[in-house]
C-alpha cells in the first residue's frame, strides 16, 4: 500500500489480487472489497479447474477415438506407422501419409499431408481425420501436432526406442483400428522370426560375435548409440555394436574411436553413392581396420530395413544376421 504498490484501497480496473492472502487480509476488507475478493477467488478457482482439466486430459492420454461403424479416417505422421497400419490390414483406413511414406507401394497413392517431421496441419485438418498417429523423437512437441490437439483432433504419438516399443505400437494400433487379432498374429510371427534368428547364433560366445560399426551418416560420422533400436537390432542379429556404450540415439563419433575399436564388420546405411565399401577403404587411417582388411563392409542393405522401426525391422535383423554369419562360416 506504500511505495506505490496497489493495495485494497486503490480502486482500478482489472482483476484484483490481494497482496496479503492470509485470513487478516480478508477480515480487514470492506464489503466492496470483499466482493472483489470473491471475484478474484472465483477467477483463480476457474483457472485452477481449467488447469486441472488440462492436466487430467494429458494424464489420461489421448482423447477417445470416435467410433464409427464404417472405416476410420487415419492420418500417419511417420513412415513406420504407415507400414504398421498396412501390415495390420488397415491400409484402407489411412487417408493421409507423409512424403516419406513409400512402403508398401499402395501408400504412395495416398494423399500427402506434409513431410516426416514436418506435418502440414492444414492439409491434415482438410482430410478430416478421426485419428492422427505418429512416432519419433520430438514429434510430440511439433507446433503442428500441438495445433491438431487444440483443434480436438485425437493425436497419438508412439515411442520407437526399442523392439519392445515396436510391439507395443503394433498392439496399440491394433486396438485403435479394431484389429486386435491381426495385431496379435503379427507380433507373434515377428517374435517367432526373431527367435529363429537367435537360435542360429545362440551358441556363439560373446567374444566370437562380429563387432559391428553401423554408420548412418558421414561428414560427420554418425553412428548408433545406447538408446537406439538399431543397437538392439545389431544385437538381435548376433553382432555387437562397437558404439553401444555411447550416449544418446545417434551420436556423432570420432574416427579415432572407430579405428581404435576396430570393428570386424562395417554396415553403411546412408544409402546412395559416395560411401561405398571401396571409399571406406580409402579413408585416411582406416586401412588397418579389420573390416577393411577383410573386406567386410556391407553397403547394400536397404536402409529402411535397419533405420525404420516398422515390421520390416525384423527383415533387417534376418538379413543382417545372414550377412554376419554366412561369411564367417567356413
Amino acid at each position: 500500500m506504500k511505495n506505490g504498490i496497489p493495495g485494497p484501497e486503490t480502486s482500478g480496473p482489472g482483476i484484483f489480487v490481494s497482496p496479503s492472502l492470509g485470513p487478516e487480509g480478508i477480515r480487514l476488507a470492506t464489503t466492496h472489497e470483499r466482493r472483489r475478493l470473491w471475484a478474484a477467488a472465483g477467477t483463480v478457482t476457474t483457472l485452477l479447474a481449467l488447469a486441472a482439466a488440462m492436466l487430467a486430459s494429458n494424464l489420461l492420454g489421448d482423447r477417445p477415438v470416435p467410433s464409427s461403424g464404417s472405416r476410420l479416417r487415419i492420418v500417419s505422421l511417420s513412415p513406420n506407422i504407415t507400414e504398421i497400419v498396412f501390415a495390420l490390414g488397415a491400409g484402407q483406413d489411412l487417408v493421409g501419409v507423409t512424403t516419406a511414406c513409400d512402403y508398401p507401394p499402395e501408400a504412395r497413392r495416398l494423399a500427402r499431408a506434409g513431410g516426416f517431421g514436418s506435418p502440414d496441419a492444414e492439409a491434415i485438418l482438410a482430410l478430416k481425420p478421426q485419428l492422427v498417429v505418429g512416432s519419433g523423437p520430438g514429434m510430440d512437441v511439433l507446433p503442428a501436432v500441438e495445433l491438431l490437439r487444440r483443434r480436438e483432433v485425437p493425436v497419438c504419438i508412439l515411442s520407437e526406442a526399442s523392439f519392445g516399443d515396436l510391439f507395443l505400437a503394433i498392439r496399440r494400433l491394433g486396438d485403435l483400428t479394431g484389429r486386435v487379432e491381426a495385431a496379435a498374429r503379427l507380433t507373434a510371427s515377428l517374435s517367432e522370426r526373431l527367435a529363429a534368428v537367435e537360435r542360429r547364433f545362440r551358441d556363439v560366445p560373446e567374444g566370437k560375435r562380429p563387432r559391428v560399426y553401423v554408420e548412418i551418416w558421414m561428414q560427420p560420422l554418425i553412428s548408433v548409440g545406447a538408446s537406439s533400436f538399431v543397437t538392439e537390432l545389431v544385437r538381435r542379429a548376433g553382432g555387437i555394436s562397437i558404439t553401444a556404450d555411447l550416449p544418446g540415439d545417434y551420436p556423432q563419433v570420432s574416427p579415432e574411436v572407430v579405428v581404435a575399436r576396430d570393428p570386424s564388420v562395417i554396415v553403411l546405411t546412408h544409402g546412395g553413392g559416395s560411401a561405398t565399401a571401396a571409399s571406406v577403404g580409402r579413408r585416411v587411417g582406416w586401412a588397418r581396420v579389420t573390416a577393411v582388411r577383410e573386406m567386410r563392409v556391407i553397403a547394400d542393405l536397404l536402409p529402411d530395413l535397419i533405420l525404420r522401426p516398422g515390421p520390416r525391422l525384423v527383415e533387417g535383423v534376418e538379413e543382417l544376421s545372414r550377412r554376419l554369419y554366412a561369411e564367417v562360416a567356413p
Binding site: S118, P247, V259
Partner: protein, 333 residues
C-alpha cells in the same frame, strides 16, 4: 635494417620450432589414448595417419586464414577485418548447404569442397562488383557491400537450413557441422591440392609484402609513392580470397583465427608486413593445431569431438571483446 632482418629470422625460427613441437605433440593425444609405441608401430595406415592428416590440414588452414587476415586488415585498413569480412563465409556456407541438401555430396566426393569454394568465390566477385564506383573500389563501400551481401546470403542459408526436415536429419547435421568447421578430412588429394594452393598464396603474399606496408599508409600516400593502388588492391583481394576459399572448402568455417592471430603478432613484432605475414602464418598454424587438439580431446569421454569452430570462438571471443574495448578509446575523425 640488419637488426630488423635478424629479428625476423629469430621470430621465424622460434615459431617454426614451436610449430614442430606442437605438431609432434598433437600426434600423441586424441579422442582415444593409444600408447606411443603402439601408435608408431601402427604407421600411417592407423591412428597415427588419422592424426597426421589432421595436423597437416590444420597447419595449412591456420596459415592460410592468418595470412588472409593480415592481408585484409592491411588493404582495408580496418583492424576488425578478417578473412570472412567480404562475405566469403556466407557464400561458401550457401554453396555447402546447397550441395549437402541437393544430395550432390553422395554422388561426388569433391562436391562439398567444390560447392563451398565456388559459392565463396562468386560472393567475393559479387561484393567486388557492387563496391566498384567507376574505376575505383573504395574500401568503405567494399566493407558495406560485404556486410550487406553477407546478410542477404546468410538469411537464404538459414531458410535452406529450416527446410531440412527430419528425413534429411543427416543433412542438417552435416550443415551445422560444416558451419562450425572440422579438420576431419578423408581424402589426401584434397589435402595436397589445398596445401599447394596455400603455399603458393602465402609465398606470393610474402613477396608482395612491401606493397602491404605502403597500402597501410592510405591510398593517397600510396599512390604518391608510386604504387598502382587499384591494381594492388585487386591482387591482394584475389590472394586473400584464394587463401580463404580453399581453407573454407577443405574445413568449413573456422572463425577468429584470421582476426586474433594477426593482431597478436602485430603487437609482438610490429607492423612490418615482411615480418608480420610469414610469422602470422606460422602462428596461425600453431593456433589451429592447438585448438584442434583441444577439440579432439575435450569430449573424449563420450567418443566424439567438439567442432573446432567452437574452440576457436571460445578462445577468440574474449580476445575480440578486448579488442573492441581498446578500439573504443581511439577517436575516429
Amino acid at each position: 635494417m640488419t637488426s630488423r632482418r635478424w629479428m625476423r629470422t629469430r621470430a621465424l625460427v622460434a615459431l617454426s620450432a614451436l610449430l614442430a613441437l606442437v605438431a609432434t605433440g598433437a600426434l600423441f593425444v586424441g579422442t582415444v589414448w593409444v600408447p606411443p609405441g603402439e601408435l608408431l608401430a601402427g604407421g600411417l595406415g592407423g591412428t597415427l595417419g588419422l592424426r597426421a592428416s589432421r595436423v597437416a590440414i590444420g597447419i595449412v588452414v591456420g596459415a592460410a586464414l592468418s595470412a588472409a587476415g593480415v592481408i585484409f586488415q592491411a588493404v582495408l585498413r580496418n583492424p576488425l577485418a578478417e578473412p570472412y569480412v567480404l562475405g566469403v563465409s556466407s557464400g561458401a556456407g550457401l554453396g555447402a548447404a546447397v550441395t549437402i541438401l541437393s544430395g550432390a555430396v553422395a554422388l561426388w566426393v569433391w562436391a562439398l569442397p567444390a560447392g563451398a569454394f565456388v559459392g565463396g568465390l562468386l560472393t567475393m566477385v559479387l561484393v567486388y562488383r557492387l563496391a566498384r564506383v567507376g574505376a575505383r573500389v573504395p574500401v568503405h563501400s567494399l566493407l558495406l557491400a560485404g556486410v550487406a551481401v553477407g546478410a542477404v546470403i546468410g538469411s537464404v542459408l538459414m531458410f535452406l537450413v529450416s527446410t531440412a526436415s527430419v528425413e534429411g536429419g543427416g543433412s542438417l547435421r552435416s550443415i551445422v557441422w560444416w558451419l562450425l568447421g572440422s579438420l576431419q578430412i578423408t581424402d589426401l588429394t584434397l589435402l595436397a591440392v589445398v596445401g599447394g594452393a596455400v603455399l603458393v598464396g602465402v609465398v606470393l603474399a610474402f613477396v608482395l609484402a612491401r606493397d602491404l606496408n605502403v597500402m597501410v599508409l592510405g591510398e593517397e600516400p600510396a599512390a604518391h609513392l608510386g604504387l598502382s593502388v587499384e591494381r594492388t588492391k585487386l591482387v591482394f583481394f584475389a590472394l586473400g580470397s584464394l587463401l580463404t576459399g580453399v581453407s573454407v572448402a577443405a574445413c568449413g568455417l573456422i572463425g577468429f583465427v584470421g582476426l586474433i592471430v594477426p593482431h597478436t603478432m602485430r603487437m609482438i613484432l610490429g607492423p612490418d608486413h615482411r615480418t608480420l605475414l610469414p610469422c602470422a602464418a606460422l602462428a596461425g598454424a600453431v593456433f589451429i593445431v592447438v585448438a584442434d587438439t583441444i577439440a579432439r580431446t575435450a569430449l573424449a569421454g563420450v567418443g566424439t569431438e567438439l567442432p573446432i569452430g567452437v574452440v576457436t570462438a571460445l578462445m577468440g571471443g574474449p580476445f575480440f571483446i578486448a579488442l573492441l574495448r581498446r578500439q573504443r578509446r581511439v577517436t575516429w575523425s
